[in-house]
Symmetry: C2
Subunit: 256 residues, 2 copies
């Protein structure tokens, strides 16, 4: 059964036959390639070539290409700083979320790998553990299922939002330099569709929306999620007690 993970198998000793080799070197080279030209640039042949080795030599350190990708993900998880234990939970989760977003901006291929399969590498486990720790042992989250539900929701949002953001970035620079608005881009098709009048809100989005910067958008969404969790688990909480928020309607009650 191929249930065995990479981290189960010891790494073969680094014999400098023509050139030294190790999992770290392989993963490092693969990440460098992916950072430069996307995941397509990560082929066993290219990774091996970058290390002055034949393609088949990698199979001593890796059993499958997917394992290499798992190792890459775990490596990047290791780059993400984790909050000090004891940090207030909203603050802690916000930092983790920003850490993931920043990592995905440094390594745009990351997000394609993130949700795709469970990650069980040591750094991934440490990351999950630290994320769970932000809520565990707080009275507002008595059971591990409460913790899991809240953390899982935050992570689902973070993954979805970052994926969306990266995809848009890619699309922009693929369709030629941000094009001010993507109205003109994507050809006459969009113009024609909007002209049918069947998509009035979409038209408003494209002509009226402020296209505020992505970081602010991310923070707003994250606030929504954290607010929702806080509301459920600490009903005394009110939105006024938190910082960033979009404009509230005129019926807002302001202070307490």
């Amino acid at each position: 059964m191929s249930n065995e993970l990479v981290w189960d198998r010891p790494e073969p000793p680094s014999k400098p036959s023509p050139t030294p080799l190790s999992r770290d070197l392989i993963v490092e080279a693969a990440i460098r390639l992916a950072d430069g030209g996307g995941l397509d640039e990560v082929s066993l042949r290219k990774v091996a070539a970058a290390l002055n080795a034949g393609p088949m030599r990698l199979y001593g350190y890796i059993e499958t290409k997917d394992e290499l990708l798992d190792l890459m993900v775990d490596e990047v998880y290791g780059e993400i700083a984790l909050p000090e234990p004891g940090t207030e939970w909203r603050e802690a989760l916000t930092r983790i979320a920003h850490g993931i977003r920043a990592a995905a901006k440094r390594h745009p291929w990351l997000i394609d790998l993130l949700g795709g399969r469970p990650h069980r590498g040591p750094n991934s486990l440490a990351h999950i553990e630290a994320t769970l720790a932000t809520l565990d042992d707080r009275p507002e989250f008595p059971t591990i299922d409460d913790v899991l539900g809240a953390v899982g929701t935050v992570m689902a949002f973070v993954h979805g939002a970052v994926r969306n953001e990266i995809a848009e970035t890619r699309d922009e620079q693929a369709s030629g330099m941000t094009e001010e608005q993507w109205q003109a881009a994507s050809g006459p098709y969009m113009q024609r569709m909007l002209a049918t009048g069947r998509f009035p809100r979409l038209a408003r989005v494209m002509y009226e929306a402020e296209h505020t910067n992505a970081a602010a958008w991310f923070d707003t969404g994250l606030s929504y999620v954290l607010d929702g969790i806080a509301t459920r688990h600490n009903p005394a909480w009110t939105p006024a007690s938190s910082a960033s928020a979009p404009s509230a309607p005129s019926t807002a009650p302001a202070g307490p």
Copy 2:
């Protein structure tokens, strides 16, 4: 400049040379293949073979494999029922979220394509339009940016959550029939890691957590997100006024 989309180009007339062909037939065949064996099963050769055609014939209807994938996504968007206009916004967004989740369960490959690139097909546009419509023109969401922020957050959560769920499903049936808990699965590695004591919360998750069914988990997360939006945009709202929720701590104030 290759900005042209599939939907810009008219479809060539369906000449029944050896066998009739059309974009719909191609997309249908591709979806059937993907439903059966995952996205790996969708190769131009296999799709063409399923239609008794040579591989190159598809290029009359499609310019690139990515275009085929775009068409597949748009087709599935067309399957998703949209809420009646005028539905209360939480209800409407909940239905849309469930619609996406259900579609992704019917077509497990969908989620791999969803966040990856912007979707501009007619069904996709209609879907986005309807989603925006759930919040547009409500006094709680005065600007289109408010609408966009809220809708985007819900969608980010839905995509992330569904992707996670599908990934876990895949992993389970790949590692051999759900294995009761995945403790024993994934080899001795996990056992060893947990035995180090460095991951106490993870251990609790694996031994104590209820592993409640995925649908309930999804609803809980969705409630968090919707609650957060409601709290921000309608400060008079309290969690007691909504339905499903996880166990609140003992300090819960119950009714109004």
